[in-house]
C-alpha cells in the first residue's frame, strides 16, 4: 500500500488548491455484486474448486466544477472467499483539469487504454488483469489502473497523448494462486504450493515509464503512432538463482490504422518490441525482441448481431540465438506465434439479453480459450451474467495450455445504483 500514499497525497494537495473554486456538482454511484465460480475439471495442483467467490461494493464519487476540473474516485470493498480476505481496491482516483484550451491533464490512478485490439494488445502497454478475465469477473476488471500523469494535447491537425507512469504496475497473470500455471523453474504446471513470485522494478526517476500516442483522422480513417519506454507488463524474465520472475526493460514503437472496409471496420496495428536487456537474443532468461502484427475486422452481420475476427502474429527476433542458448529440458518456443480470435455478440429482447462467445485459437501453440457468456439486464438496476472459460492445449508451457486444468463456470449478480 506504500505507493498509494504518494498518489493520495498528491491528489489531496492538488485538490486543496483547486477544489474551493468548484461549484458543488457532486455525484455518487456504484453497485453491489456477488460473484461465484468453480473449476469443472480435476486440478492436481490446486485442491480448492472455487475460482471465484466474492462480494463487492463499488463506490464511485465524482465532484466537478462548472468550467473545468473534476475529481473522480472509484473504490471497491471486497470480501473474497477464495483468498479468504477482505480488501479495498482503489481502482481510480484522479483529478482532471484543462490549464489550456488545447490541453487536458489527468493526474492520479487511472485506466489507460489505446490501440485497435480487442483483448489482444500491442501498443497498449498498460496493466491488464488477465486473471479476472479467466475466472469470469466483469469486463470492467480487464484493465488495472496506473498511477500516472497523462497530458492530452489537441493543437488541431493531430492529437497527442503523453503518459508518465512513475510507479510500475504489472499485469495480473496466473501465478498458481487461483489458477494453476506453468512454472519455468520446475518445467511443470504448479499451483499454490509452488506459486510464482515476481520482482517489480524499483520506483525511481530512471524507471519512470513513458508512453505516447500521436493520432488523427483522415476522413473516416484513423491513424496513430505509438511509442513506449518502460518494462514488459508480463513477467517474461526469469531469475533462476532467486527463483523469481521479473519484468525486463522494454521499448516499443508502433502504428495503427482503422476505418471502414467492405461492410464493416478493419484495423491494422503493428509494433516493434525492443527487449533492451537482451538485444542479441542470447540470454534465455529474458524475452527476445519481436515484431507484432494485428489485423482486425468487425461487421454487424444483421441487426444486433456483430462478428469480430482478429489475426495476431508475433515474430521472435534473433530466434537462432534464442534456440542456441536454450537450456536442455526447457520448453522450446517457435519463431512465429499465430493467434486467431473471434467474438460473436447477439443481442435479444430489446438488447436486454446478450449472448456472446469469445474464442482464441493458436495454431502454432496448439492451444485455445473459449469463453461463452449469457447476460440479462433484468431491470435498469439488476443484471445477471452466467458464463464459462474453457482452456485447451497440447503442451503445459503455452499461454492457454498451462490453464488446461482450470476450466470454470461462473455466475454474477449485480445491483447498480
Amino acid at each position: 500500500m506504500k505507493h498509494h500514499r504518494g498518489t493520495i497525497l498528491a491528489l489531496a494537495l492538488l485538490g486543496s488548491t483547486v477544489l474551493p473554486a468548484f461549484a458543488a456538482d457532486f455525484s455518487f454511484h456504484g453497485f453491489v455484486e456477488g460473484a461465484g465460480g468453480f473449476r469443472v475439471v480435476d486440478n492436481p495442483s490446486i485442491s480448492k474448486d472455487a475460482t471465484l467467490g466474492e462480494g463487492r461494493l463499488q463506490a464511485e464519487l465524482s465532484y466537478q466544477g462548472p468550467k473545468t476540473g473534476r475529481l473522480f474516485l472509484k473504490a471497491d470493498v471486497i470480501g473474497d472467499g477464495v483468498e479468504e480476505e477482505g480488501k479495498i481496491d482503489l481502482r481510480e482516483a484522479y483529478l482532471d483539469f484543462s490549464p489550456q484550451k488545447v490541453l487536458d491533464v489527468r493526474v492520479g490512478r487511472q485506466i489507460l487504454t489505446w490501440g485497435t485490439g480487442d483483448l489482444i494488445f500491442i501498443n497498449d502497454l498498460f496493466p491488464k488483469d488477465f486473471v479476472s478475465f479467466y475466472i469470469g469477473r466483469s469486463q470492467d476488471y480487464l484493465k488495472a489502473g496506473s498511477d500516472a500523469v497523462k497530458l492530452s494535447l489537441f493543437p488541431g491537425p493531430f492529437s497527442l497523448d503523453l503518459a508518465l507512469v512513475p510507479h510500475f504496475r504489472s499485469s495480473e497473470v496466473p501465478k498458481g494462486e487461483r489458477l494453476s500455471t506453468f512454472n519455468p523453474f520446475t518445467n511443470r504446471v504448479t499451483g499454490r504450493r509452488e506459486k510464482l513470485s515476481t520482482r517489480a522494478p524499483a520506483t525511481n526517476l530512471e524507471n519512470t515509464e513513458l508512453a505516447f500516442r500521436l493520432y488523427r483522422t483522415f476522413g473516416s480513417y484513423e491513424a496513430a503512432l505509438y511509442g513506449f519506454q518502460g518494462f514488459f507488463k508480463e513477467p517474461v524474465g526469469i531469475d533462476p538463482a532467486k527463483r523469481v520472475l521479473s519484468f525486463p526493460e522494454l521499448s516499443a514503437y508502433g502504428a495503427s490504422l482503422q476505418g471502414p472496409f467492405l461492410q464493416g471496420i478493419a484495423s491494422l496495428e503493428f509494433g516493434y518490441y525492443d527487449s533492451r536487456e537482451d538485444r542479441s537474443g542470447k540470454d534465455p532468461k529474458i524475452e527476445n525482441s519481436s515484431l507484432r502484427y494485428l489485423f482486425g475486422y468487425e461487421q454487424e452481420v444483421w441487426a444486433d448481431f456483430t462478428v469480430r475476427a482478429q489475426y495476431f502474429l508475433e515474430e521472435m527476433l534473433d530466434f537462432h540465438a534464442y534456440r542456441a542458448s536454450l537450456a536442455a529440458g526447457a520448453p522450446r518456443r517457435k519463431d512465429l506465434r499465430h493467434l486467431l480470435f473471434l467474438r460473436l455478440t447477439h443481442l435479444f429482447r430489446y438488447q436486454t439479453v446478450e449472448l456472446s462467445l469469445v474464442a482464441f485459437y493458436s495454431p502454432s501453440d496448439e492451444d485455445a480459450h473459449l469463453k461463452p457468456e449469457a447476460s440479462y439486464k433484468v431491470t435498469d438496476n439488476w443484471s445477471v451474467a452466467f458464463g464459462a472459460n474453457f482452456f485447451f492445449g497440447k503442451k503445459d508451457s503455452t499461454p492457454f495450455g498451462q490453464l488446461d486444468a482450470n476450466d470454470n463456470l461462473y455466475l454474477r449478480l449485480r445491483y447498480s445504483f
Binding site: D104, L142, S152, S159, Q263, E300, A303, Q351, T352
Partner: protein
C-alpha cells in the same frame, strides 16, 4: 472535396425537375420534413429522456444529452450522445458522423475501460439503445432509398396534413411507410410502418410540438420542435416515449466537440 462535389451535384440533379412543378412533390415534402425534423438550426442541444415500456408495463429509463451539428456545406451531420442513466451505461458516450449516402462513422466510449471503440454500423435498422427506435429513426433515412407518393391531404386532429406513402427500393425493416406531415411546419405527426405481411408493425406519433426560439433581435428565429414522441411496436406491445427538454438551437457548437476528446472528456458546460 470531391465527395462534397458529388453530394452537391446529386442534390442539384435531384432538385432540378421538381422545381419546375407548381405543387410540392412527395419527395419535396419529405425533404422539407427532414429539414424541420432532423436538421433544424445550425446545431442543437437537448436533454433526452427515453422511457421504454414492455407490454406488461415494466419500465426502463435512459437519460442522455444530445448534441448535434449540421455540416453547412452538405447533408452530413455530427452527433454526440452522453448517457447519464441508467447506472450500467453512465458516462458512456457515442459519437456519430452521419453521411446520408454511406455508412455512418460511429465510436463508443466505454468508461470502465477508458476505451474508445470504433463501432461497425452497417445495419441502420438496429435498435437504438434497446428502444423501439432504430438508428435510422434517430438520425433520418436516406430519402433516395424509398419511392414516395403523395396519397392525399387530410386532417389529423386539428392539423392539416399531407399523407405520403414510402416504399423501400431494397429490403428494409418495413415494406411500406405512411407519413402524416403537418402542412404548417412540415413536422411528422404520425408514421405507420408495415411489415412483410403488409400488417401494421410500428407506429410513430409526434405527441407534443413546441416553438423553440433561438437568437436575439433581428436574428431571432423560432423552430417548431417535436418535444415528445412515441414509437410503439404494435405487434409486441413494447413502446418507447421520448421527451426532449432544455432544447436549444444555434448554440455555436464547435467541430472540436465532435471528436475523441469529448468521448473521453465530455464538454461539461454542455453535458450537464
Amino acid at each position: 472535396m470531391s465527395k462534397l462535389g458529388l453530394v452537391l451535384f446529386a442534390l442539384f440533379i435531384a432538385g432540378t425537375p421538381a422545381q419546375a412543378q407548381k405543387f410540392p412533390t412527395a419527395t419535396e415534402i419529405l425533404e422539407k420534413s427532414q429539414q424541420a425534423f432532423y436538421y433544424a438550426g445550425t446545431d442543437m442541444k437537448a436533454r433526452v429522456t427515453m422511457e421504454l415500456t414492455t407490454d406488461t408495463g415494466k419500465k426502463r429509463t435512459r437519460i442522455l444529452t444530445m448534441l448535434r451539428k449540421n455540416d453547412p456545406k452538405s447533408k452530413n451531420q455530427k452527433y454526440f450522445l452522453y448517457f447519464h442513466e441508467p447506472g450500467d451505461v453512465r458516462r458512456t458516450a457515442f459519437l456519430v458522423w452521419k453521411y446520408p449516402e454511406k455508412d455512418d462513422d460511429r465510436w463508443i466510449f466505454i468508461p470502465t475501460l477508458n476505451m474508445v471503440q470504433r463501432v461497425a454500423a452497417s445495419d441502420s435498422r438496429s435498435s437504438f439503445v434497446g428502444s423501439d427506435f432504430t438508428y435510422e429513426d434517430i438520425s433520418g433515412r436516406d430519402l433516395s432509398a424509398d419511392t414516395h407518393t403523395l396519397l392525399r391531404e387530410e386532417k389529423l386532429g386539428d392539423a392539416d396534413c399531407y399523407v405520403i406513402q414510402s416504399m423501400p427500393k431494397s429490403t428494409a425493416d418495413y415494406t411500406k411507410k405512411l407519413s402524416w406531415i403537418d402542412k404548417k411546419n412540415f413536422l411528422p405527426l404520425k408514421e405507420e410502418y408495415y411489415d412483410a405481411q403488409n400488417e401494421l408493425s410500428r407506429v410513430f406519433t409526434g405527441d407534443k410540438i413546441e416553438e423553440i426560439a433561438a437568437g436575439e433581435g433581428a436574428a431571432r428565429k423560432s423552430y417548431p420542435t417535436v418535444t415528445k414522441r412515441t414509437m410503439k411496436n404494435v405487434k409486441s406491445g413494447h413502446r418507447t416515449e421520448v421527451s426532449f427538454t432544455s432544447v436549444a438551437y444555434n448554440v455555436g457548437l464547435d467541430d472540436a466537440i465532435f471528436t475523441e476528446r469529448s468521448l473521453r472528456n465530455p464538454p461539461r458546460d454542455l453535458v450537464q
